[in-house]
């Protein structure tokens, strides 16, 4: 019975003129987005790998110089992205893909792909995820809004209800038929997209590509189910197909179009993050003042006195190490808590903004899906934070190694320890710093971060199903007057 209803519903939908042009538009946009994603993936990965290789080679081949100068010369971290990053670019285009790692300074990521695009990018990135998030619900609505309301208007609903068909069977049958019509359009595109990405190479960033793809399918499936059952519910309740369409398109515009833009603004008002200039000014000021209000110079003076006492000397030349290098490393360590405090504050603000946006998913399921999608694609805040952490760890170790080497190696240069001892190191010394490696958050961490959003999507689809059930049980052959 349910199969019969589903088959009839499917045949009716695909024979309708609506189906052809709606399907054509969706296929065109989705394929374009997936193809564009594949192109970006190939180009990005090639650039990232080449750039990282070049940066590593430049570090080693920077020419013989003082190790501390070498730390100033620095190194670059280029963020690797897996194939899913091109299904859903997440925050990558806005958060930056490259970090310059140098002595004395912790830097933000630079090279934001969004900065290189035209004004059209304001409408969002053309990716498989953004097209699906926007058009999957619209496809469901446009193919399904007549499910009950259209039959009621044309009078076939009377005939159907006179047959003694249980309303629940009508609901499941129509749900399956509509789902099949939607999948016939969407699935082939996704398969083509997946094959294209597979031919480009499938190294994952964060591991568990299969699990990630399965969970993405689950999340987008739930998202589609939410709109499918809402469509059937509204169609069953509405007085006319026109009313059903208006209500559904209204909700679609709210959830998939308006809220993704507004949620960002709301979250920024709730948890402001500083502008770049303000941030830098405040951090420099704090650095100058000293972490706890005692300036770094004052602390260095005390440290120097302490060392003099410890070794019973009163000249830096008499210390058993090269004071200039130890002093610079000490300065790094004094600045570190200032950096940490300011960068952490920004990160906390971003995390708080993300939490606000996730909570708004209660009103708009698109927001919950968007988070799950970027989270599983490895392009969320979680991955960006880890990228920055890894770069900072690398930077600290690089600087400490260079200063540490200098502190020892320059001590008895020229047979004496002199405050002005200036040594030259070569590639062998620079090789003490291993090449930069980004260790993305594990699959488990990515999933754990998205559990609340997945639960929210599940709750949304249950509520939509309940709404549809309630509407269909009370199904009337005539519109309520």
């Amino acid at each position: 019975m349910i199969g019969t209803i589903a088959r009839k519903e499917f045949i009716e939908i695909v024979r309708d003129g609506r189906f052809r042009w709606v399907a054509a538009i969706v296929v065109l946009l989705l394929l374009t987005a997936l193809l564009a994603g594949q192109q970006r993936y190939a180009a990005y990965t090639a650039t990232q790998q080449a750039a990282q290789g070049t940066s590593n080679a430049q570090w080693l081949g920077q020419g013989d110089k003082n190790p501390h100068s070498a730390a100033h010369y620095g190194n670059y971290a280029f963020k690797p992205l897996g194939p899913l990053g091109f299904f859903d670019g997440g925050i990558v285009a806005y958060a930056g893909t490259t970090i310059f790692m140098e002595a004395h300074k912790q830097n933000f990521a630079i090279a934001r792909p969004a900065a290189d695009t035209s004004a059209i990018a304001r409408f969002g990135e053309l990716s498989g995820a953004s097209i699906l998030q926007l058009l999957l619900p619209l496809l469901v609505i446009l193919l399904g809004f007549t499910a009950f309301a259209g039959e009621r208007e044309s009078g076939t609903l009377r005939q159907v209800l006179s047959m003694g068909t249980a309303p629940s069977r009508l609901l499941w049958g129509k749900a399956l038929g509509l789902a099949a019509a939607v999948l016939v359009v969407v699935l082939p595109c996704l398969l083509i997209g997946a094959l294209l990405l597979a031919t480009t190479g499938l190294q994952t960033v964060g591991g568990g590509l299969g699990t990630r793809v399965a969970l993405l399918a689950l999340a987008y499936g739930l998202y589609g189910a939410i709109f499918l059952f809402l469509t059937l519910a509204v169609s069953a309740r509405a007085s006319s197909p026109r009313t059903a369409l208006m209500v559904l398109v209204g909700f679609w515009a709210f959830s998939a179009f308006l809220m993704p833009k507004i949620a960002g603004e709301i979250s920024k008002v709730a948890h402001p993050s500083p502008a770049y200039g303000t941030f830098m000014t405040q951090m420099r000021e704090h650095q100058r003042r000293g972490f706890d209000g005692v300036s770094a110079n004052a602390k260095l003076g005390r440290y120097q006195a302490e060392m003099y006492r410890k070794y019973g000397v009163d000249r830096v030349e008499d210390l058993p190490f090269y004071w200039t290098a130890v002093r610079m490393q000490k300065l790094e360590e004094l600045d570190q808590p200032v950096f940490d405090q300011h960068y952490d504050a920004v990160r906390d603000a971003y995390a708080a903004q993300e939490r606000v946006q996730n909570r708004l998913g209660v009103l708009a399921p698109t927001l919950a899906l968007r988070s799950v999608s970027t989270g599983l694609a490895g392009t969320s805040l979680l991955e960006h934070a880890k990228f920055q952490d890894d770069a900072e760890t690398f930077r600290e170790e690089m600087v400490a190694k260079m200063n540490g080497y200098l502190a020892q190696a320059a001590t008895d240069l020229n047979g004496v320890n002199s405050a002005t001892n200036y040594m030259i190191a070569n590639a062998d010394v620079f090789a003490m710093v291993p090449p930069y490696r980004y260790e993305p958050p594990s699959l488990a961490a990515s999933i754990a971060a998205q559990v609340p959003n997945l639960v929210l999507l599940a709750v949304w689809s249950l509520v939509a199903l309940g709404f549809a059930w309630f509407a269909v049980v009370k199904l009337q052959p005539e519109a309520r007057r």
Partner: protein, 233 residues
């Protein structure tokens, strides 16, 4: 088979049906006559449970239609004044769909074609989309749907209005066959001639009340018309 017990339905101040008592047994063709708004369609809607009774009850096979709407509908076939079908499906596909909704999965394509033959739908029309059908052709598919349901009781709401005389005559022949097979038929109609020809009993309704019941073998055409018109004044 069909039974109305003090069946009453009011819409606000308006009484659509007032204390209707009615029995239609197997082999009966009961014709409801009356002006538009007399309560004929309301009576049929009450049997289909499309409208809830304000008081009283409608029963099919002794079962209350409000208490067991799905069970009672299994015994009912319904043909409205305008049979509405899916325009993007063919006549045969429409018939198959509704037959299955009615719980009849067993029909082969030949069986279904047999029903369409029996109601006189041209062979080549069966595989055309219903969108291209005339009203008469749609009514025929509607009758085929009712036949395929093999229901004990038929509810017909002016099924022949708008049909040409030949189609109307064929429809009457079909009703007589169904009657012979033991169906209980309740038909709302404006056609006094056909009511007298094919009906076994006649009920005249006015302003929601059943004002007179008679057997068709007791009255002539002329008497029936006179009695009907007297009630209408």
């Amino acid at each position: 088979m069909l039974q109305a017990l003090e069946l009453t339905r009011t819409f606000g101040d308006h009484t659509a049906l007032q204390g209707l008592n009615l029995r239609v047994e197997r082999g009966d063709i009961y014709c409801l006559l009356g002006a538009n708004g007399a309560g004929k369609t309301t009576t049929i809607n009450l049997f289909l449970n499309f409208v809830r009774p304000t008081s009283g009850s409608a029963r099919v096979n002794g079962i209350d239609v409000v208490e067991q709407p799905l069970e009672t509908k299994r015994h009912l076939a319904y043909i409205p004044e305008h049979v509405m079908l899916y325009g993007n499906l063919t006549g045969l596909e429409n018939l198959r769909y509704f037959a299955r909704l009615g719980g009849h999965n067993e029909y082969s394509a030949a069986d279904l074609q047999g029903f369409l033959d029996r109601v006189g739908l041209q062979r080549d029309a069966a595989s055309q989309r219903v969108r291209t059908y005339s009203k008469g052709m749609r009514q025929k598919v509607g009758v085929a749907i009712a036949l395929a349901k093999r229901a004990g009781a038929l509810l017909l709401d002016e099924p022949t209005s708008g049909l040409d005389p030949k189609a109307s005559n064929e429809f009457s022949e079909l009703l007589l066959q169904l009657k012979a097979e033991g169906a209980a038929i309740l038909m709302a109609t404006h056609d006094l001639f056909r009511a007298k020809e094919t009906g076994t009993r006649i009920g005249i309704m006015k302003q929601g009340r059943l004002v007179q019941e008679l057997s068709t073998d007791e009255v002539s055409h002329a008497d029936l018309e006179r009695i009907y018109l007297e009630h209408m004044h």
